[in-house]
Symmetry: C2
Subunit: 306 residues, 2 copies
DNA sequence: TTTTGGTGATAAATAATTGTTATGGGTGGT
DNA sequence: ACCACCCATAACAATTATTTATCACCAAAA
């Protein structure tokens, strides 16, 4: 059963005239005649009475017309819905990332995107890079903002082969210290300065924590970790309260020169965008991905709010 | 665009597997593949991501699926609606007729029909035979109960050629007189008896009145028409009140032997069923027509209530 | 009455679509 | 490295749709 038949049927009903309907449909009259006959055969009932003046709907025809129009309208709506997806006039976007990304990097970009495409709905999930990778592989996320290097996950059976990792922005971790700390006001620090000092760190398992742990081990010092937290703002508050020093992303600091840098060996990390290259990206995801990339190259300042 | 494509699309989405979908559809895998490709080409977007494990809906696919199902459901509903028409589980029926038919003849038949086909809706219109003919020709009525002979109408441009007139029941007009009338209790009358007598008759233009007028003229007598009415019951009431004698259909009388007959030349008329033979009769109309015919042959008694 | 103009239906040839069989490329598991 | 399974593609066959030309029919006009 062809939907064109329904279109033809509707046209004949509208015109009450087969030849005129044929012209409108850019078909010849015999073609229309054949289409209608097939439709009638398939439905088992005559839809029109043929008169010398034209076509008159039978009761069956009047009854069926409603449903034919409904069916065609549904298809038309479907086409429109797909066009809206492409035109970013509808659709949704799921993005995952760590605390730094979701708290400081994504909001300005999301704000700008939302301004341009107000009809797109967002889902932003703060979670570990590992979890973001898994979710991207399983299709739960369109895009994941992760810290490099990534480790292959073992919690999923999805193949990792087509996971695309595109480097995004470079981040540097800075040491922040309480106001009454000896190093307060300094521009830099060395690992030896931290030996035995009380520290407030991200909880184990986070990407930031792993970087710190690795550096600490290399420096051969002992840390006095007095607190493990999940939120950057919490760490900043704890440090301000004098509980200890802590490491946070440069993007979490209001001024670019804030925080102490490790001069000899800057604690840098690269954030990347992860997605499945073997899955069709929704138009919204593609558009947002491109905005992410243009933002990273344009604004090298810490806020990214350009 | 073929509706089978939508069916195929739905099947693939349901199975997440093209080959399995093909089996269910009794097609080969390449056929299904081609259908999906055509659908995707027509919509301008990929509906599935092809993986080594099977098919995964894209956002476009998820979006479109809703509309595809809606379109298919509408067609299915349309088929069901047509089947219900045939099975007399839905539909409507418009019948027109004169006072005798709509008041005394149709009710018992309609009652029986409604008992058998309770889902059919009726429209019964009491009007002149002329108007019924016009309405049948214009498609406003499925069937018309008319008094023979019919005259060609000139109020419509519809061709009269295909108007089918099927004789139905024979009716006899009887004279009814007031209780204190000299002829009260008699079985018959002659036209001479009515000369100068007060009479209560149907209004001019009705089929019954035309028959009476014709006979009166032939008999060469003068009538004292004191009242013209439209409803049979009104005439009976007026006669009962002693206002004058009147003519009514035998079917309007409770007993078959009631009323006075014109022995020498019974005032008979034939009622007929009119319909357009060049229009498809709805299943309900056909069924009702057949019931009308079987009733007329079966019950020759005055009530037709068998 | 015959004629004429307009209706949709039909026949035959052609065009387009659809389906099948056979095969290939790619991916993931053994 | 191979195998099994997925879908895509190619070539051919079958089916379906469309066009052109023509017909039968009806109604209105001559």
């Amino acid at each position: 059963m062809n939907l064109d038949y329904l279109q033809t049927f509707i046209a004949i009903a509208r015109e009450s005239h087969m030849t005129r309907a044929a012209e409108q449909l850019h078909l010849t009259q015999p073609a229309v005649s054949a289409q209608l006959s097939k439709l009638e055969d398939e439905l088992g009932q005559k839809l029109f009475d043929r008169t010398s003046k034209g076509m008159v709907l039978t009761e069956a025809g009047r009854t069926f017309k409603v449903y034919a129009e409904r069916s065609l309208a549904a298809m038309e709506d479907g086409r429109t819905a797909l066009d809206e997806l492409i035109g970013l006039r509808s659709g949704s976007l799921a993005v995952g990332g760590g605390a730094t990304a979701t708290t400081y990097l994504l909001p300005p970009v999301l704000g700008r995107f939302h301004e341009e495409q107000p009809e797109i709905r967002f889902f932003v999930r703060e979670q570990s890079s590992q979890q973001s990778i898994v979710d991207v592989l399983e299709g739960k996320l369109d895009l994941g903002i992760v810290t490099l290097p990534i480790k292959a996950p073992n919690e999923t059976r999805e193949p990792i082969s087509r996971l695309e990792i595109v480097p995004w922005v470079e981040d540097e971790l800075r040491l922040i210290v309480p106001p009454d700390h000896p190093a307060s006001g300094a521009k830099s620090f060395e690992w030896g300065d931290l030996d035995g000092q009380p520290l407030v760190l991200f909880e184990a398992g986070s990407a930031v924590r792993e970087i710190i742990d690795e550096r600490v081990e290399k420096a051969g010092i002992d840390l006095d970790i007095v607190m493990e937290l999940r939120a950057i703002e919490s760490i900043k508050q704890m440090v301000a309260q004098g509980i200890g020093a802590g490491f946070v992303s440069q993007f979490a600091l209001s001024r670019a020169d804030e925080g102490l840098r490790c001069l000899k060996d800057p604690i840098s990390r690269r954030l990347a965008i992860a997605y499945r290259s073997d899955r069709t990206q929704s138009p919204a995801a593609r558009a947002f991905f491109e905005m992410l990339q243009s933002q990273s190259s344009a604004g090298s300042d810490s806020s990214l709010s350009s």
